[in-house]
Symmetry: C2
Subunit: 395 residues, 2 copies
């Protein structure tokens, strides 16, 4: 009688959430300092001070009716223009405010874009390992998710596997670089090869194939890695951005979609995203946070903790002999499990109060995700426990 | 190729928005003070000072990682509990935090509830005059909107018309009291009769019929009118609330759904709303605003301006002979147009720089909506222009 699919989505137990809650229960028994919880991808560093300073200034100096009032559905014009110019300065693009649609964060960017683009029967390609909500978002549009298996050597794109899965029904691909959960950043070579392949297939099929770049981790990169800005490589690209990670504001729900002029049917795509946002009940992105995003769009939270945590884990795992592709970005690392069954491996880790998420939930068995957005001290104390886990497999 | 329905929604010209933009153009020509724009339902009184005070306190005293971090999907437990207890104190209900799902405003409340409840082929009953987005929200679920024509005598419920439209496919009804655009508040007698009829039909059809109470205007009432709290009259009620109007925070997108324990399949309905919110891309309601809502949930903006504006308009219209049902609440009044064609009437008003919205867009021709959420001075200066409009019909 009710919508069974929605009941399913509302009652599904999240493996990540269950691990996190188990960690809280264990903490009550053995003490918080003895539980090594790497389950949740929640930024652990504070927003840059300019965020709260901006909020306080706005509350002190703005007309409250304006400050807290509706903006137009795509966002306040000055906010969109400021952010567009900031992207242009940093990425060498040529956007105006008219190319930006402000949203309630990356999830809203994705659902608005997908509902605008897709019709029932369409296919949307996703690359393993992938953020599991993609499937939920895609299927709500009536489209089908088509999964490309992981390139576990480097977490780039396995092009043969991709090509075998492109069909005339392919409406869009979602790429997520830097990637949750692997931390991988697509190289310029990968991006160029992807763009070439998609242009070929567009010509073959006679219709656009849209590339949706889900980029909440763009600002969290290490060792001088750069993240190619995809609109410069492939015209039919939509960028879905969120300030959740760059400004450590995940609860505030603020982000945007970029629809470049060079995108096929650009004006119609923008209208379709706007129409979808409307049908889903997004009236406008939170008004004060729009202004905060514009004021702080060239700031980031202090990412040095993530860099140090990543370094400690990679060096430790190397010494212990845990195979792991070094991530170019994000606050995740994604080592191999020491037995093929990543769920069993995660359970064994759990018996040591080491909480890591099985990769099979991300479409990539044989690996586990470690969210190292935690105090560095927890990493330092966890390394000997990882060693104990390794020893369980070597005894 | 793209989703045509979404393109349609994204490009549709809103009559209200067009009037508002025409007003801005005219203001540039004849001066802002000579344009009498009553098109937009945007609160004109500031949020109560406690809102910005709370924001400043939170920014000064909270851990920013917590303050701006994800809450659980239904909202922060303490926020939900505080608001539940506040409703209980004011309405005599018995909710706990577990009955509340925090949302990004009333539109998100409605889309989450409708997508959770409805399957394609279901029918959702709406009463004219109605907020036009209801149709967009209902049709996105695959359900069909069934419109009950207006009771233009009192804007209560025309029960014969309603009964003729209830079928075994009826999944839900949306009621909006105080009503946009009529300002009408359903009397206790209306609510009791509605509850009786729905219980009868539930028994006849052998399944629940859900009553969705869309209540953003609950706090804006006049002359001692009280708004019955519908869960007390009819078990299978969901309340969709927003702080947009009560706290003058329409841009901040904060509200909630109440799913009472006594509602049929209460736990499943809650899960379905949660699942729908997830599929639509609502990760959580804006985190800081959740705390603001909890701190300010017994405050309201100063509604005395709306009371004075309403009084001036009603008295003026009475003198001029413009027929108008006195609204019990909201910042709208909904007089009859002085010719049957409300669009022609609105055009004639427009020729005098008097901007009022035709009722036909709300499913109620022969009327116009006047949004009196404006400075009282604008009302005072507009009354002679309304008289000029009347004279055009009496010459």
């Amino acid at each position: 009688m009710l919508n069974e699919k929605m009941i399913g989505l509302g009652t599904a137990r999240s493996v990540i959430r269950e691990l996190f809650e188990y960690g809280n229960q264990r903490a009550a028994v053995v003490g918080r300092e003895n539980v090594f919880d790497f389950s949740l991808g929640n930024p652990s560093v504070p927003a840059p001070p300019k965020v709260n300073d901006t909020i306080n200034d706005l509350c002190r100096t703005s007309d409250p009716v304006q400050l807290h009032g509706y903006t137009s559905a795509p966002g306040a014009p000055a906010v969109r223009e400021t952010i567009a110019q900031s992207i242009n300065r940093r990425q060498g693009t040529h956007f105006t405010g008219d190319n930006l649609y402000m949203t309630c964060g990356a999830a809203a960017s994705l659902t608005s874009a997908l509902n605008g683009l897709c019709n029932p029967g369409d296919e949307v390609v996703v690359f393993a390992p992938y953020f599991p909500e993609y499937q939920v978002f895609i299927e709500h549009t009536g489209a089908e998710m088509v999964l490309v298996p992981a390139d576990v050597e480097a977490f780039q794109i396995p092009f043969d596997e991709l090509e075998a899965r492109l069909t005339p029904k392919t409406k869009a691909l979602i790429v997520n670089s830097p990637n949750n959960p692997s931390g991988a950043v697509y190289s310029e070579a990968t991006v160029e090869k992807l763009a070439d392949l998609l242009r070929l297939k567009e010509a073959e099929y006679g219709h656009p194939i849209y590339l949706i770049a889900d980029e909440p981790y763009r600002e969290i990169v290490f060792d001088g890695v750069t993240v190619p800005y995809l609109t410069k490589y492939y015209d039919d690209t939509l960028v879905c951005y969120s300030y959740s990670k760059s400004l450590s504001l995940p609860g505030e729900r603020i982000g945007y979609i970029v629809v470049p002029d060079e995108c096929a049917d650009s004006k119609l795509v923008f209208a379709a995203c706007a129409g979808a946002a409307r049908a889903l009940g997004y009236v406008c992105a939170p008004s004060m946070l729009q202004l905060v995003a514009a004021a702080c769009c060239e700031e980031t939270a202090d990412m040095s903790v993530y860099a140090e945590n990543r370094r400690l884990l990679l060096e430790g795992f190397k010494e212990m002999g845990i195979p792991c592709v070094a991530p170019g970005g994000t606050f995740y690392i994604f080592p191999q499990s020491l037995e093929p069954d990543d769920v069993a491996f995660s359970e064994k880790a759990k018996s040591l109060d080491l909480l890591v998420v099985p990769g099979s939930g991300f479409g990539c068995p044989g690996h586990v995700r470690i969210a190292h957005c935690v105090p560095t001290e927890r990493i330092q104390k966890a390394l000997p426990v990882f060693q104990k886990l390794v020893d369980l497999y070597r005894k």
